[in-house]
Symmetry: D2
Subunit: 391 residues, 4 copies
């Protein structure tokens, strides 16, 4: 066992940290941080800064201009990027693009990669992943998928409704999951690619949500006879759930990485505040009640970091990591929420205002306990594995 | 001991509930619910509805057009009003006006009441209470008050800065707490009344905050030589902290009442959702994990309701209720937060969107753990009393 | 609503408190407090003290020498008795006797009352309630009952195994729940009375358990052709589950009362300790971390007390109180555990020794989260009611 | 970073696990497990088994017959030993002996090692560490040390009282910490060695405690003119606190290791129970409420294991690990308590009996939240470091 990072990775972490602190944090007061995420002009400005530092899309392979980071490398660098909620936007490693890029590298044809992946890895476009549906469609339970794609000649005709589709507003293309009907027969779920805007792809509206840091926000999408030619199927017909798995665990883990960085930020702001403020005649820092909360933050951050890195290392060894990624999803989402919640409390009145980033981080990480599977679904899945082993 | 409500109070509760459900909840999708609270045109519309039902300003005395509710009566009716975040606005029993009316009834001269209180009890004006200051001024610790009022002839000249001043934007008048200097000597804190707008009273800006249900939001106020004639002192010079105590405990308790109603609402939405939605082939309601969360909600709501009513009853007996109101403030603010948090979780993706009121309630009640004294200050105060008794 | 106790009840509470403090607490260091509960000689000595004070069996009717307390009266007096773990033993209001007396008063014939109930209300005998069975028999789920009573002529022949039967060792008689077979047909569960010792009733062994305050401990019982004449059936044949319900809710509630008293004791010991001890140069009481724990204790005790009294009052109104008693069972058992746990922590090394009562209280109240239905079963039942109302 | 264990360590872990399961667990029902720990005859029998397997005192250096395990090696092997509460006794790596051996190897002279350390590493003797004092002496706060050692000629004369001295009953020798007076001057704390029994060293009594797995239990010791020759000083006069630090962090960490193993055991028992038992017509394992508790256990165990191994690795790198060991002490003691508590709850009635090891583990791990510094002291220390960095 060896818990040390390689010198190269340490250097990259340090470089990323400096970049975030010096070049990205100053943009946090930018008025273009709207309720539905940073506006595109801001995104482009930030991306240019990361490109300039050689920190754009670090998770992509060298072929696609990235640093070819291992999962462990991502654990270190994406955490550092998350230290500002704008960091992953700047470095082009935010959800859902980061997961989509991972999926495209793994599954797309060369032609598809040049057409859709390369502009995205270069920070020139965004994408969305159309999976979740309103009730009674697929949410936590993928088998409930209701959107259909019916084969008609050399194309598929897609109908249905999706919702909570992150980044749809402003995306250059979409990956769409649909139950596929060929010759009247259900052949399973398939992933389809389509340029945007497209006839038959309507953004019904963008939802107002508690979180506010995803580019484009979260949309409701209606498919009405959206046509996708056979050549724009991603991978094979009927293999949609298989590819969803390819995307699932790594994307879940990068969520943990970025939000861990955000929680570290909230904690640092709270420590700094407690060290500078007085209450009842003594520095806030000397109030045990405050100190205990910060100590719990330190423990939560430390444990979560170990767990994220361990799971990333597991994936690097070729493991599927289903059990471990469920465990770390629950641990990370709940720990970072606790950290943010304590930071709000320590800041008092200041904590519920947008005067510091803590308020925004608190709202954003609340959603993390639900995105990519609520804690309850993961707990259920962890338990099922325990009993399978026991019986 | 008798836990039954009087038939009159039960009838009033039922009437309030119907009013909120039938007449107020339909406005929850109104676009005039802005980030800094409901706009004034919406407020006026809602107030008219309550007036029409005889439910306007129910907590005021009969002299001022109210129902002359006891504290226990308020516990019942204000909880019912809080079932919609717009309810207390409609019924004119929201913070800070409700506390200000209570204070004015108790302390103001007849002339002051006619001038400032009556328009407010009639739902024709709003007010603000200028107490909290930015660091290192008064926040949780009142003794740190920094704003000054210097006596010059027959008037006081006020200078200083306040912040987190709820409802300042749009208020017809302000109650201002300031350290008072007469003949060069600090004679203690005094409360001053001033019409708004006023020369020397500047709203520097309205803060962006996590909560969004207070009319006018929360402002930063600068006093630059604001002049207040002697006749507009509220009560006696130097008695400001004493009057603050008069306002403090009852206002803290009405917070608990209203937010308890909001938590009940979040819970009811979650129960309804769980009863109608399916996940993994069975109704959400049949998932023990969901049922357990709702059971905990039911317990939290039940206990908090008992505690709020007990404390209200204590005040009706003439007790100061300092210890009990601290206990119930911690209990209520933390319990309603847990309830709202579980409701978000049960709703899943829906829970973090503004499709239901749960998202807004969650954000609003987070702030309640800080407003009117963060839990930590109350815990400290409760502990101090315990040790005083022990030694 | 009126939260005041009647002067009579207040006087009785004060008298009980004095009795416990002055006469019972001195026995807590008595060596006869064994691992399986206080020895019988100790019990008899304590009972004599309570009899002398007119505080013996206060919950029984006047006919049976008690004070004819209402449920609310019990809430007050039994809490006061629980301030020492020996108090309910002394006052003859401990489990399972207290519940058995309640059941016997409600269901037994006059002859049965004179034979079994009167000696017990006079503190001259103890009893046991043989319901719970080892897996796969009845535990949390009553329908799994496996012990059988087969009618043969004018008697019933009982076979089966029970376990966790509190107080069996040393009991003068037993109430036995068995699935009843008459003429080869299952006619439902019945309750049977039998003097002890009896042929066919064997105490296989007394279990070692975490708790140590029940007279006689908890036993495993084997029935091998135990014969019970028809006249010793308690109530009607086949009505066992109905009578179990008669016993259930009130007995559950008296558990809450007694253990609330115990938790108050643990808290008082901790407050006293914190007020007298120093750590790191300041009194423990001045450490916020300690004060916060004690404040949480005060809140937990206050809320639980309100909830217990409310539920008792409900029963006094004739309500069944199924939902409320489930809620207060969860609240009380978990709150008193938290209180005891915090008391242990505040006492530090002292807290894990038997130098104070805190260690014993901690172990005893842990079991309360399981006895009379674990929290999980109650949460499930509360949730089921919520959904029934919602659909 | 590399989370893989070396093949050698994996093999040793597997061997230890088999040894505990096959040879030690069968002794858990042995009647010689008394309230004050396993009796010496049992200990000797178990030690012989470990010796036979080459698993005796694995943490000692090769010179002293051990396996010369690194801290990381200990993390793996001592966790495996803790899978039975008798395991560390058998393998001679239990507290306080394990810490004492570590200290003696680091500080004692060759002669002292041969006299006191070697018999102990060979499993032929036990020892005790006399540090903690009753109030107002040293407990969590070492500076309050009150026991004195006064130099008289070539010997020291020790007077004072210690308590909670683990393993004193039956120990072959003691290490005693005392404030040292030479020529009337306080020269600081010193550690002294003394054979037992000794004139002037009286075991006043053995305390009854919640835990029951330490050989010899916890005693109160009186020193009355205990004489120790200069040659039996451990290390240098006045360096006692320095040596206490040498022992402190590693001993704290081995506590975490052993108790983590115990928590894993409680969890495994609960999983097995849930997989085999039915409740309300379905296997307990299918109750989400049960599954969620077990999932939380799995997460707690996984995170704690990572944290313990990380801290051990840090020590292997030569770090002092003060901050990390405080964090892992809080994490481990609180997580293993939660695990044991959930295991009790899942077992229901069975959980509070001594029918499984869970009941004993629960009681033992409760004490761990206090031993080696209560959580509160560690949180305070963690916070202090945070603020030191911030200012």
């Amino acid at each position: 066992m060896d818990f040390a990072l390689s010198p190269e990775l340490e250097a990259l972490e340090a470089k990323t940290r400096s970049f975030i602190r010096e070049q990205i944090i100053p943009f946090e007061k930018d008025a273009r941080r709207a309720a539905h995420g940073p506006e595109d002009s801001l995104r482009i400005e930030l991306v240019a800064l990361a490109r300039n530092e050689g920190l754009l899309t670090p998770q992509a392979s060298h072929d696609f201009g990235g640093l070819g980071l291992s999962h462990l490398g991502k654990a270190v660098v994406l955490e550092a990027s998350g230290y500002s909620m704008l960091g992953p936007i700047a470095m082009n490693c935010a959800a859902p693009d980061e997961g989509n890029m991972h999926l495209m590298e793994a599954v797309a044809t060369e032609a598809q990669k040049e057409r859709w992946l390369r502009p995205m890895t270069e920070g020139r476009s965004r994408s969305c992943f159309c999976m979740t549906e309103p009730s009674p469609g697929t949410g936590s339970d993928p088998s409930a998928l209701r959107t259909t794609a019916v084969k008609q000649g050399d194309r598929f005709v897609i109908n249905g409704r999706k919702w909570l589709i992150t980044g749809a507003e402003g995306a250059a293309y979409a990956i769409i999951m649909a139950r596929t009907i060929v010759d009247g027969e259900d052949v399973g779920a398939t992933m389809f690619l389509t340029d945007l805007p497209a006839k038959g792809f309507t953004i019904a509206r963008t939802l107002d949500t508690m979180d506010s840091s995803f580019s484009g926000g979260h949309a409701v999408i209606d498919f009405e006879n959206l046509e996708v030619p056979e050549s724009d199927v991603l991978g094979a017909v009927g293999k949609g759930f298989h590819y969803a798995q390819v995307r699932l665990v790594p994307a879940r883990l990068t969520h943990c990485m970025r939000w861990l960085g955000a929680a570290q930020r909230a904690h640092d702001i709270a420590v700094d505040y407690a060290a500078r403020r007085e209450a009842f005649g003594v520095p806030l820092a000397q109030h045990e009640g405050v100190g205990f909360m910060l100590a719990d933050n330190a423990i939560d951050l430390h444990m979560t970091r170990l767990g994220v890195r361990h799971c990333a290392w597991l994936l690097d060894q070729g493991a599927r990591g289903a059990a471990e990624s469920s465990m770390i999803k629950v641990q990370a989402s709940e720990a970072v929420f606790r950290v943010a919640d304590r930071a709000v409390q320590i800041l008092g009145g200041m904590g519920v205002t947008r005067e510091t980033e803590v308020e925004r981080i608190f709202r954003d990480v609340r959603a993390f306990r639900i995105y990519d599977g609520p804690s309850e679904v993961h707990r259920w899945s962890i338990a099922r594995r325990l009993f399978r082993k026991a019986s």
